[in-house]
């Protein structure tokens, strides 16, 4: 699904930084430098940013302005990074956050197998 707007009827051409590579859970993705990590993920079709500690329920972007902290992920090894307000840089590692860890919950892993 193409979700990037190329030309906006009011705002005109959408200007972005250069195209850079980053990894998401080990997979190489592309996004524009300087745009929020969450936007690059959305363009790549990634909607789930983390799973909650207690109920293991999926969470993604909610407020998109850095208030609600629902979209936090592990960025360059550091957990709880608000991806909706953190600019994308070349070579970043962005990983799904399980509770506060990058290790998937054991129960789900077993079920998946």
């Amino acid at each position: 699904m193409e979700v990037r707007i190329k030309e906006h009827p009011i705002l005109g051409e959408v200007k972005k930084g250069r195209l850079v590579k980053f990894t998401h859970d080990g997979q190489v993705l592309e996004g524009y430098e300087g745009e929020p990590i969450a936007v690059a993920l959305k363009a790549a079709g990634v909607l789930v940013h983390r799973y909650t500690e207690k109920k293991h329920s999926p969470r993604g972007v909610f407020c998109a302005i850095g208030r609600c902290t629902d979209c936090v992920m592990i960025v360059n090894g550091e957990p709880n990074i608000r991806t909706c307000v953190t600019p994308l840089k070349e070579g970043m590692t962005v990983d799904t956050q399980y509770g506060t860890s990058d290790e998937p919950f054991v129960k789900e892993l077993k079920e998946a197998k």
């Binding site: 699904m1 979700v3 990037r4 707007i5 030309e7 906006h8 009827p9 009011i10 705002l11 959408v14 972005k16 745009e35 929020p36 936007v39 959305k42 363009a43 909607l47 789930v48 940013h49 329920s57 999926p58 969470r59 993604g60 972007v61 909610f62 407020c63 998109a64 302005i65 850095g66 208030r67 609600c68 629902d70 909706c84 307000v85 600019p87």
Partner: protein, 531 residues
């Protein structure tokens, strides 16, 4: 420790305006904002603002943002970004996290203009990825150039819900429904009418029963509510959507003021916890002021005026402006603020059902319940006339403080008069030249130029259009009614764009003349060759 005369917290419409006024008076000013970019929500507001010239009416929100930044720069107010204020302590000491460090600042006066945060309603599935705030949709579309989803259901019919639905549609998203638990649409009728004619259906009083999906949203079920807000069984409706947008109001972000020890008031009419302020915006702590949404939810135009006032009061408190000059400026701004707080949507009318306009005309009930004025209701409003040749038809039916149409017409054939909330009327003694300025200048997109008979049984309708790709002259598509239903085939005869129209294309379509008062939108459609 760095010292300033005045610290402003928040670089949105209110905070910037406050900083500008105080700096102009001679105070040393620093404005902190936690975001990477200044302007608060202004840069996401791409619609033309309501009001009159003094409120920067018909200027798009983001352009007002640029104007304010330039003014702040010229006045010498320093804007510090990525700077989160952590607390206001004794003797006006302010602790700020700037990037990865903590810094201390001190001032003789503080203006808190932290704005508001979006509300949420919990329903089954509300935490699923794909359930987002309407503000988030606006941020994605207008700041980052990305669609929040392809098929969207909007919850909430206040101005935010209506405006964001329009913006989604503008970018090609399919808005499948607009739902509100209230029995009447909360926002401006003209905003509702604008999206109704694009084909977005309204469901009132309905709300979300359940959002479906395992890892992200795949659908939503809504149901009708009885007067005690309980679901009526058997009224459930399902929509396949990938996104649910929630626009259920805002709450003041007043935590810093509470922490500073300011006296607070839990006031539902103002949106929640607000500081108790005097007529000068001063809190219970001398020298600490509050302005904009943090002191009561309104909108950007009034936030800018309140901000300017707070800046002037702070400058007076600091000794930069004498009482007499303060009073003069205050009176002028009070007048501007009063202008905005009039009409049916004035804060004093919140929650009231209004039956008649100021002119004594019955309000369109269909507009309140369904989002468009019914055919049998439209003729009773003063902007709707019939005459030979081209003439404006103004489907402006509620008293809102707005008058750019009156100034837009070079022939002066539109009259509002001195009362800014009056419904526009057509001066039938003056001939319309069909320039389209009124069509493009109306922030509510409620003005059409109609020529009810151009010969050969046809009529022409000129309407505002803000969707890409623009139609081309000669192409044929479908004319839609106020309700967004197809009424007939329409041929595009003119597409005008121009600097003066500020990105609103002015489109003229030709339809059979019996549809002159029915066709109100144009939809591009691949038609079979035989038509």
């Amino acid at each position: 420790m760095e010292r300033y005369d005045l610290i402003v917290i928040g670089a949105g419409p209110s905070g910037l305006s406050a900083g500008i006024e105080a700096a102009k008076a001679g105070a040393s000013v620093i404005i902190f904002d936690e975001n990477e970019k200044p302007g608060g929500q202004l840069f996401k507001q791409i619609h033309k603002f309501f009001g009159s010239k003094e409120h920067r009416a018909k200027v798009r929100g983001f352009n007002i943002g640029y104007q304010l930044l330039k003014e702040a720069d010229e006045a010498g107010a320093k804007v510090e970004l990525s700077a989160t204020v952590l607390g206001i302590y004794q003797d006006k000491e302010v602790v700020v996290k700037i990037k990865e460090g903590i810094k201390h600042f001190k001032a003789d006066s503080i203006i808190v203009a932290t704005g508001a945060a979006e509300n949420m309603v919990p329903f089954e599935g509300w935490t699923l990825p794909g359930v987002i705030g309407a503000g988030a949709a606006q941020t994605m579309l207008n700041l980052h150039g990305i669609l929040p989803g392809k098929k969207v259901l909007m919850l909430g019919s206040g101005n935010v819900g209506l405006v964001v639905s329009y913006q989604l549609k503008q970018c090609g998203c399919d808005v499948v429904a607009l739902v509100d638990a209230a029995p009447r649409i909360g926002g401006y009728g003209v905003h509702a009418a604008k999206i109704s004619r694009m084909g977005i259906p309204f469901y009132l009083p309905y709300t979300i029963k359940k959002v479906e999906g395992t890892d992200h949203v795949t659908g939503v079920t809504i149901a009708k509510l009885d007067p005690s807000f309980k679901f009526i069984e058997g009224t459930e409706m399902h929509f396949d959507v990938d996104t649910v947008c929630v626009a259920v109001g805002l709450s003041p972000m007043s935590q810093l003021l509470k922490m500073a020890g300011c006296k607070m008031d839990d006031n539902p009419r103002k949106g929640g916890q607000v500081p108790v302020i005097d007529e000068h915006g001063q809190t219970s702590i001398p020298g600490i002021f509050a302005a904009g949404d943090v002191s009561g939810i309104e909108e950007a135009s009034s936030a800018m005026i309140e901000g300017r006032q707070a800046g002037i009061y702070a400058a007076n408190y600091l000794g930069y402006i004498e009482d007499k000059l303060m009073k003069e400026k205050e009176d002028e701004l009070d007048k501007a603020l009063d202008g905005l707080r009039q009409g049916m949507f004035a804060p004093s009318n919140r929650g009231k059902k209004i039956e008649k306009t100021e002119e004594g005309i019955d309000i369109s009930n269909n507009l309140l319940a369904k989002g468009f004025v019914a055919d049998e209701e439209i003729e009773r409003f003063p902007g709707v006339v019939h005459k030979l040749g081209i003439h404006p038809v103004m489907e402006c039916t509620q008293n809102i403080p707005c008058n750019p149409c009156q100034d837009a017409c070079p022939k002066k054939c539109i009259k509002i008069g001195s009362k800014i909330t009056s419904l526009p009327a057509v001066d039938e003694s003056v001939d319309c030249i069909g320039c389209g300025m009124c069509v493009a200048s109306c922030p509510g997109q409620a003005i059409f130029l109609v020529n009810e008979n151009v010969g050969e049984g046809m009529a022409e309708i000129t309407l505002p259009y803000e969707i890409y790709p623009l139609p081309e002259v000669g192409e044929k598509g479908i004319a839609l009614s106020r309700a967004g239903h197809p009424v007939c085939i329409a041929e595009v005869v003119k597409v005008r764009t121009g600097l003066a129209f500020d990105k609103t294309a002015v489109l003229t379509i030709r339809v059979p003349k019996e549809f002159a008062m029915k066709a109100r939108f144009y939809k591009k459609e691949k038609l079979a060759k035989s038509v």
